[in-house]
Amino acid sequence: MAKKKLFSPASAKWDDPPNTNVALVDAGVPGSLPLLNPECMQLAARAIIGLDGKVQNQSSFDRKHYFYSDQPLGFQITQQHSPIGRGGKIHLGTNEGLKYTKDIRISQMQLEQDTAKSIHAVYPGYVLTDLNRAGVALLEIVSEPDIDTPDEAALCVRKIQTLLRHIGASHCNMEEGSMRCDVNVSVYRDGECRLSGTRCELKNLNSLKVIRGAINAEVRRQIEVIHNGKQVEQETRGFDARQGKTFLARSKEDAPDYRYMPEPDIPEVHLTDQWIEAVRATLPELPEAALARIQGQYSLSKDTVETMLDEPGCIGLFENVAKGRNAKVVAAWITSEVFGQLSYRAQRLQDSTLTANQLSALLDALEGKMVTSTQAKQLLVEYMNGDVRSVADLIKAHGWEVISDEGKLADIAKSILDEHPKEIEGYLKGQKRRLNFFVGKVMSATKGQARPQDVSRIVHELLEKRR
């Protein structure tokens, strides 16, 4: 979510036209030097704190060398020796969809550069390189080998997504490439040591479904290899989703020697405890704590609160609007109406024009029966379209003022009844649907500005009087 790249002032925006966000150092132009972007340190620190890890007071950068067309400098600047974050954990339980609870420990979290994007199969024989992505900051989260099932792996990734989105550290969107996943898989026989198997790395898994599928396919393959009396070789493999199989990408012999070396152009980074605490203070309440508190405080269901927690900024909106109002009504409006509109517009709540004041006023008008449910929904649409008028002004603009004067309604109803003696007769004979006929007529006469329930009641009274 950083605006600029890790070591250059070029924009980190992911969907701009190719090769438009390229600083000199991103292209490896001779003489250009990297300069650490403090915003990336802050976002990394936020993520580390959110994942319960420890932000290191000292960290440094290293060069990882290999030649590839998507690596303009011939090396990646990463943190092999002293990463910015150590420790941490991802808690999985019933909230996440697991039937039991388990903590997946984090080994470390390190900042590093992303590579350029290589585009194949556009011009035969050519690989196109888009340097927009070259140098964008990545935070690599390395877990301990605690994961035992494909489900745990996928849920772990999803939990990280939820957490980091909530904190505002990353969009964690696998489709747009703001989150990627590599999985290491090994198997072991019952009774053997859990980590005794050789592990293979599965790279470039780009959705939760693919993660599950790839792990299952690889486990099947390794078991078959062992049953055939052979050894599992250490390899880097990819996943062919169509065939449901993993394939060899790189064998152990072809694995490159990265020749790590300290990055001489970036001094050691010192983060004081005060700086770290200041970052911690800017973090929103973490999801687990918020879930428990809001469920209890407002008596809402877990599903409702979780749905709201999943959208950054939503809890803030909810609590603001819920002050002095019916929390269940507010939550229902947010999770169905507001979210429905956001989904329709493919918009995030934080980018919407809807304000807490607008939603509050809208719900008050509904509660005070100044608008019907349908009208309130229309107001919501208008606010989300950018309208800034008050509810009162909008009601007037639409001509929705409700006629609540019962005397006036009774007069209108009486005159309509007088015009239709046959229907009165029919009703008195037992044709109940004549009531709806009169209600419809009165509603037309009032141009819909009366409440159907009121009209129905008044007409019913008047009809009964004529018995």
Partner: protein, 224 residues
């Protein structure tokens, strides 16, 4: 005219001249070249002919995963001169997994020891050390028994003749032994012409001072 004459001249100008010991200086030469070549192999890795510069016109015969490295090989072999290729290859080697500990890491350790040698003789503390986290209190205090500057030759021998042919490139490197220590330690140094030897070839004298003390060196040099 030589080092002794230089020392005498400084004494005549009112300097107190003492002898100091920098035991790790002899190791600074191999350490320097190990580190310099490693950094060269790293900094020159960007010259692949893809985004700028010369690109080989050779077309690879085969397609497949070896395609990419073949293109790099051709471009870099054509584009770099012999000496540069030598340095890149040596620098790459010392950073490989099997050699790194023995050469590259060791060279970095020697570098730290060379820096400590200088810090132990200078009276001025090393300002760079103040930003490191592995610093001892002893490194931070002005040392009354310390010296302000160091005097030593610039080269071990006089300048080689242009037509002198030595097939061993290492000889050229060895001649750098007097100047690389300052580079490793990151301190200022200056070479000053000071007379000639018995054969009439010019001699250079070198002065070095603690990090940041550049003006002192320029002042002393102006007197020499």
């Amino acid at each position: 005219m030589d080092k002794a004459a230089g020392a005498q001249r400084l004494a005549d100008l009112g300097c107190e001249v003492v002898q100091v010991s920098l035991p790790h200086i002899p190791s600074s030469l191999p350490a320097y070249y190990t580190l310099a070549f490693a950094e060269a192999s790293s900094n020159l890795a960007r010259y692949d002919g893809i985004r700028y510069g010369t690109r080989s016109s050779q077309r690879p015969e085969t397609t497949g995963s070896n395609n990419a490295s073949y293109k790099y090989t051709c471009t870099r072999s054509e584009g770099f001169g012999v000496e540069v290729q030598r340095r890149i290859l040596l620098g790459t080697y010392v950073m490989t997994a099997s050699a790194s500990e023995k050469y590259h890491v060791l060279a970095q350790k020697i570098r730290r020891l060379v820096q400590k040698d200088f810090d132990s003789v200078f009276s001025l503390p090393n300002a760079l050390a103040l930003h490191s986290t592995k610093v001892s209190d002893a490194m931070l205090v002005n040392r009354p028994a310390g010296v302000d500057a160091l005097l030593f030759p610039t080269t071990t021998d006089s300048a080689p003749f242009l037509d002198a042919k030595d097939p061993n490139p290492i000889t050229g490197y060895v001649n750098d032994v007097m100047t690389v220590s300052a580079n490793l330690a990151g301190i200022p140094a200056i070479s000053v012409p000071f007379g000639s030897d018995s054969a009439g070839m010019p001699i250079g004298l070198q002065l070095a001072a603690q990090y940041g003390d550049d003006n002192l060196l320029l002042a002393i040099a102006s007197y020499l």
